[in-house]
């Protein structure tokens, strides 16, 4: 398995990005700035030109201080556009620059990565509530964390390792989804990928095949649960089967999340390894603007030999919901990785 956090390398599929992305970026950014000046614009909801086009975007900055590291990062800069082209057909396009600007205070060096990549590009056709199809590059419909992957929508700056290394964050392929015909409270996603990623710039695992099924159910008005299972093949010819469980419990000001996953890796060379990851998180909302967050993580990847426990205590302040200030402290089982992390992010 290749765990890829590639920033600059390209591949043949970057051609699409190289040709279209800069022009689309300039056009959408100019257009966004112009329309954001309009009086009926509401921060966090984008600007709706008409039913066929809404434009928006987000950015985030991070400041991290560890035992022997200190850096500032303009992490994500992204613009997105979506709309309904017909009654049943809609689209979404998102371009993002990850690590837009990075300054290392230890070495005094800076670097930037301006060219954007195609983060998402898909169409949706809704046949009915029980049967819809999404095709193109999209977020893999697994669990909670993966579906809200951007800084401003989360209550902590960091992601659990669970969401970064155990399954492909993105799917370039087909997702058939809806509510099951036999139970209106159970949703399903049946998803498939048969090619390489549309744009592999920021993907976490480079795969060329993925088949999976996710089910989720609202058990009570406060309690939600889901399960995902599937198999993906990475470009190193390692096949991974996974089973993931997720549950969320809302108790007034307190919301509890738990997600866990078990991976079984098999390679052509006869390698058989297992990985396990689980996290639990509690969010206590003191007021609509202020929240305290506690998270515990366990991560064990036999393939990479990484095994660790992480504890996180965080504080989130949102003067308004689309604007987020966060600070957290991470305790790692290897204390040399302990970290203070702060961020500022905006959805517009």
């Amino acid at each position: 398995m290749v765990v890829k956090m590639n920033k600059n390398s390209g591949c043949s599929r970057r051609f699409l990005t190289a040709v279209f992305a800069p022009w689309l970026t300039v056009g959408l950014a100019t257009f966004s700035l112009a329309v954001c000046a309009q009086q009926d614009y509401q921060l966090g909801l984008g600007y709706s030109v008409n039913d066929m086009l809404t434009v928006g975007g987000y950015f985030s900055t991070e400041y991290a201080v560890g035992d022997d590291s200190e850096e500032f990062v303009v992490d994500d800069v992204a613009i997105l556009a979506y709309g309904n082209l017909t009654e049943n057909f809609s689209f979404l396009a998102e371009l993002e620059s990850v690590d837009f600007f990075r300054h290392d205070f230890e070495t005094g060096s800076s670097e930037s990565n301006v060219p954007p990549a195609i983060e998402r590009l898909y169409g949706d056709y809704k046949f009915s509530d029980t049967y819809s199809v999404r095709f193109g590059k999209q977020i893999t419909p697994i669990g909670y964390w993966n579906l809200q992957p951007i800084n401003v929508l989360r209550e902590t700056t960091s992601n659990p390792r669970f969401s970064r290394e155990m399954y492909p964050k993105f799917l370039t392929g087909l997702d058939i989804y809806g509510y099951t015909p036999f139970d209106e409270n159970t949703g399903y996603h049946l998803y498939f990928q048969g090619t390489e990623d549309l744009d592999d710039a920021y993907i976490n695992i480079n795969i060329d095949r993925h088949l999976g099924l996710s089910l989720d159910r609202q058990l009570t008005c406060r309690w939600h649960a889901g399960v995902s299972m599937g198999r993906f093949d990475d470009l190193d010819n390692t096949a991974t089967r996974y089973l993931a469980l997720n549950t969320r419990l809302a108790l007034g000001k307190l919301t509890l999340f738990m997600e866990g996953i078990r991976d079984l890796h098999e390679s052509n060379s006869g390698l058989h390894e297992q990985s396990t990851a689980v996290y639990g998180q509690g969010e206590y909302r003191l007021t609509p603007q202020h929240a305290l967050i506690v998270r515990g993580e366990y991560f064990n990847n036999e393939l990479t030999g990484i095994r660790e426990r992480i504890g996180i205590l965080g504080y989130s302040f949102r003067p308004v919901f689309p604007v987020s200030f966060k600070v957290e402290h991470q305790w790692h089982s290897d204390s040399g990785d302990n970290l203070w992390l702060g961020s500022f992010s905006v959805l517009f």
Binding site: G44, D124, L147, Q148, F321, L347
Partner: protein, 137 residues
Amino acid sequence: MRWLIMAALFLPVSGNTAVGSGYAVVVSSESAIADMAPDKIRDIFLKRRNFEGGTRLIPVNLVGEDEPRREFEAAVLGMDREAINRYWISNHFQGVSPPTTQASLQSVKSFVENVDGAIGYVPLDMVDGNLRVIYEF
């Protein structure tokens, strides 16, 4: 016994029609929809569901925060404005926009009467032969 009878008179009526403060969720009288459970109305106005009997539904809200909208959000959506804002901001990232709005109750009524699949809410005393009540709150 007298207490039981009195209590029964003031209990909410179960089923799709609830005793409320005088508002109705409505569709066009030409619609095939006869009634709808409040959970489904909630899902339609949150755009979690989009269809009823093969018809693509178009929810319409009253613009702003006037009483009919606040009543609807509290009684049917079961969410305060803060929670609703959070919901739509999160959905903006997923490419889902809030329902369309109309500037007045009369505009909501006209929209529901004239747009196929439209579903809205108006005071009960605005309901006439052009509208069908599918839920009261």
